[in-house]
């Protein structure tokens, strides 16, 4: 009876009410499903993000292993350490690495793969992993807890067995993005070899070792930079390089106290004797052949990780004027080239200043026709000679500086615009005399004759100094400026070697060898380097 009543009651509800009720239920379910979807998406996104950046999340690993605990305590989520957890032969193993620094193919193929394939009865331990499973050449066992993070940050993979708190394995799986050996960009030569250093210190060392197969070749390595921990290698030949200079260089490098060294130039700054010296006391070498030649001379080559330039010390002024091209062809060609380079250096330094001295102070030193021609060329120029030259020199420096950074595909266009604007238009407008255009162009061309760009920069500064001196005092100021430059040159030293050697102090034999530049005639190494073994042949 009751059942019937109930049935009849339900039967009493209209079909439309049932549908509405079902719709409400469905709507509430849909809303709930959307919320779930949303939260799932957020979770997936966050997990994806983490997996992209860090692989497994280190903090989520539950273990009592002291090595992992140590890293977990230190670890900052942004450090980017990935962890691969494996359970093999009843053992938990962790491989810690940084994805960006690791050759993952090597890691999977020669480290993780062999471990996962382990199916022996014997329980896994460090020795078995080291000696029988991991298929890599550079694997070491270490126990220092504090070094684990350093290893990982350098790009090594650290393998930790969960129940082993005594030792862990370090496998060299470093992968560094590097470019292949390419032609030099700044040390251009016509005939010289073209293998330039790259940013990879090991490649650079291999290039040196490839050329110098001498057992006395010493590579002293050290780490500089509290945070960057940059590898620096000091390369020299033990029985040729003067130990005093080697010790000086190593001492200076070891005394570098800074948070980061990223390039050779930073090391160079620390090696300077005096911050106010104008001329560079170390050479910057891009070509491995040049570096090897310097090492054979008894010099010290400094390679910095992450930089494609090596430092050479000690370096004298005259060595900046030597090019590897001088080794080719006749000796006379080298002599002529050196002479041209010195003339060019003098022209670059002094042409503009001499123009000011003559036009504005001492035009009586000119033969009458030249004096008249010079006056005619300046007839419409509204500026005085000093201002005129200063404007042109600044414009040329702007062009030079901009040409370094102009993208290659628009470089020629900008060059043409510069030449037209600064050259032809300025003359046509009567703002600049044609002679000044000739002088500034010629002197700029002269600056590119010198093989080493490093020595040009002090000349650039001194050129303006000479301009000001000459602008104020005429030829007297010019002479005074030259004197200051020469005083500076002869009073400098590079790691104890007189900077103006072999001219000051004068050494005829070294000077002759420098001028002739012929290896067959130069039987001895330069005397000023004080090499223990000074005989070449």
């Amino acid at each position: 009876m009751n059942n019937d009543k109930k049935k009849s009651k339900s039967d009493l509800c209209s079909p439309s009410e049932n549908i509405e009720e079902k719709l409400r239920d469905l709507r509430s379910m849909l809303t709930h499903a959307r919320e779930i979807e949303k939260s799932t998406q957020t979770l997936v996104h966050s997990l994806q993000e983490r997996s992209i950046n860090y692989g497994s999340y280190l903090q989520q690993i539950k273990t009592e292993n002291k090595f992992i605990k140590n890293i977990q305590q230190l670890e900052n989520p942004n450090m980017g350490i990935s962890v691969k957890r494996m359970s093999v032969a009843r053992k938990q193993l962790f491989v810690l690495y940084i994805q960006e620094l690791t050759n993952r193919e090597m890691l999977s193929q020669f480290l993780i793969g062999p471990i996962l394939k382990y199916d022996q009865a014997a329980p896994l331990d460090i020795d078995i992993l080291h000696n029988s499973i991991i298929n890599l050449d550079d694997v070491t066992v270490d126990s220092a807890k504090e070094k684990t993070l350093d290893y990982i940050l350098k790009g090594y993979s650290v393998i930790i067995v969960d129940d082993n708190e005594e030792e862990y394995l370090v496998a060299n799986t470093i992968k560094i993005e590097k470019r292949t050996t390419q032609s030099p960009e700044i040390e251009q030569t016509l005939w010289g070899s073209r293998d330039a250093f790259t940013e990879n210190i090991n490649s650079n060392l291999s290039l040196i070792r490839y050329r110098i197969k001498d057992p006395s070749l010493i590579i002293y390595k050290c780490l500089i930079g509290e945070r960057t921990k940059t590898n620096v290698a000091v390369v020299y030949i033990d029985d040729i390089a003067n130990q005093e200079y080697v010790n000086k260089v190593i001492k200076k490098i070891n005394s570098i106290n800074t948070d980061g060294i990223l390039e050779t130039g930073m090391v160079q700054k620390f090696l300077l004797n005096n911050t106010f010296d104008l001329f560079p006391q170390t050479g910057l070498i891009e070509k491995s052949a040049t570096a090897c030649q310097c090492i054979l001379e008894g010099k010290i080559c400094i390679l910095v990780e992450g930089s494609n330039l090596s430092l050479i010390a000690p370096k004298t002024f005259f060595e900046f004027f030597v090019s590897s091209d001088d080794n080719y062809g006749y000796m006379y060609l080298g002599i002529l080239a050196k002479l041209l380079r010195f003339i060019s250096a003098f022209c670059y330094l002094s042409l503009s200043s001499l123009y000011i001295a003559i036009v504005a102070f001492h035009f009586d030193i000119l033969p009458p026709q030249y004096a008249l021609a010079m006056a005619v060329s300046r007839a419409t120029v509204p500026f005085n000679a000093f201002t005129e030259v200063l404007i042109m020199e600044i414009a040329t420096e702007i062009l030079r500086e901009s040409s370094i950074r102009i993208p290659k595909n628009i470089g020629p266009t900008i060059g043409i615009v510069g030449a037209i604007v600064i050259g032809q238009a300025a003359v046509s407008a009567g703002l600049i005399s044609p002679l000044v255009i000739i002088i500034t162009s010629l002197s700029t061309m002269c600056s590119f004759v010198i093989p080493d760009n490093l020595v040009i920069n002090p000349f650039r500064i001194m050129k303006f100094m000479l301009l000001v001196f000459t602008g104020i005092l005429g030829l007297f100021g010019f002479t005074m400026g030259l004197n200051i430059i020469f005083i500076n040159l002869v009073s400098q030293s590079s790691f104890g070697i007189p900077y103006f050697s072999p001219l000051a102090p004068f050494n005829f034999s070294d000077l002759k060898n420098f001028i002739l530049g012929d290896l067959t005639l130069a039987k001895k190494r330069p005397g000023f380097l004080k090499t223990p073994d000074n005989t070449r042949l």
Binding site: F276, P368, N384, G430, L473, G474, G477
Partner: protein, 382 residues
Amino acid sequence: MTKKYVSLLLVIMLPTLLLTGCWDYHDINMTNISISTGVDIVNGQIEYTGEVAKIAPAQAKGNENGGGGIGVYNFYAYGKDLEQARAAFDAGVPYPHFLGAARAVIFSTSYAKQSIAPYLHRIAQINDYRKTILPVISRDHPAELFKLKVESDISVAFLIEDMMSSLTKQGKAIYPTVGHLLSDDDIKTIGELIPYVGIEEGSIKYLGLAVLKNLKMVGTINLKDTSGVVYLLAKKPSITENLPGIENKNNTFSLLTSLKKRTFNTDYVDGKLIINIDMNFDATLNYQYYTESTDEKKLKVLEDLVAQSIQGKIIKIIAMSQKEFDCDFIGFAKYFRAQHPLIYRKINWEESYRNADFFVNIQVNIHNLNLADPNARTLYFK
């Protein structure tokens, strides 16, 4: 270290800034570039004239110089004396003067007869002036010279200077400078010679040499007679001697002589001044008007003839200096003073020179027949 450098800089710079006069910055195009100066006497006043460079913009077109370049304009100024004339000139020019490019200073005959010493001393004292500037005496008024339109050179001064410079390099003239004149003037006993120019057939010509005694013009030597002076004074005289043919009298030998060695030896014997002139010449046969065969005998005759010709010219000049001008313009006094300083102090040079005996010994060696001799082969290879 820095302190050391600063001190060094100060030590070098301070004396410079305090003691030197290098603050005279002045651009060359902002100066009045004087090319030449003429000095004359007109109506009892000093006429100061000359040429100044007209600096036209290099890219200007259509000016009288044919589109840019160097032209000149003439200036005229008058005054009771040099200073007044100069002041009158200065009053009309836009820029300060630059005299370092001046090529010649031209004196009129009337001014030179009064004495060119004042103007030479002015040149000596003005730093701007080159002491190597060429002094010239003009037969015509300098103002007339400057009015001439010169087609072959930039200006009148350039023409005269280039002409004299070229002739001197060829060994056909002498190039005295203001410095030489002033130096010779210190030895009061000697005279001077300076180029003499004038207008001939509408253009400027080198007419000969003007003779100065105590820097006053006393006469001139015609161009055709100047060879003797050139032989005696030029650094490397090289003059063409024309000689009549040896067999064929209608023929003419043209020989170019060049000095090898010249020595002046002086002596004073029995109150008489003796001057020995020994000169060795090389000669080259330029050509013959009509080719005539030569042999060693004929060559010897030719050599003697050339020597006689040179000797004659030298003797003529010496005679002129002794008799016509009564002035040692060759400067033998310098040699005598150097060789016999004690005697020089005691004697009256002018008097002694007037009565001096000259011995001129000329040696000529014809060493080059210039392949003009058809018998040369048989002559030298027989």
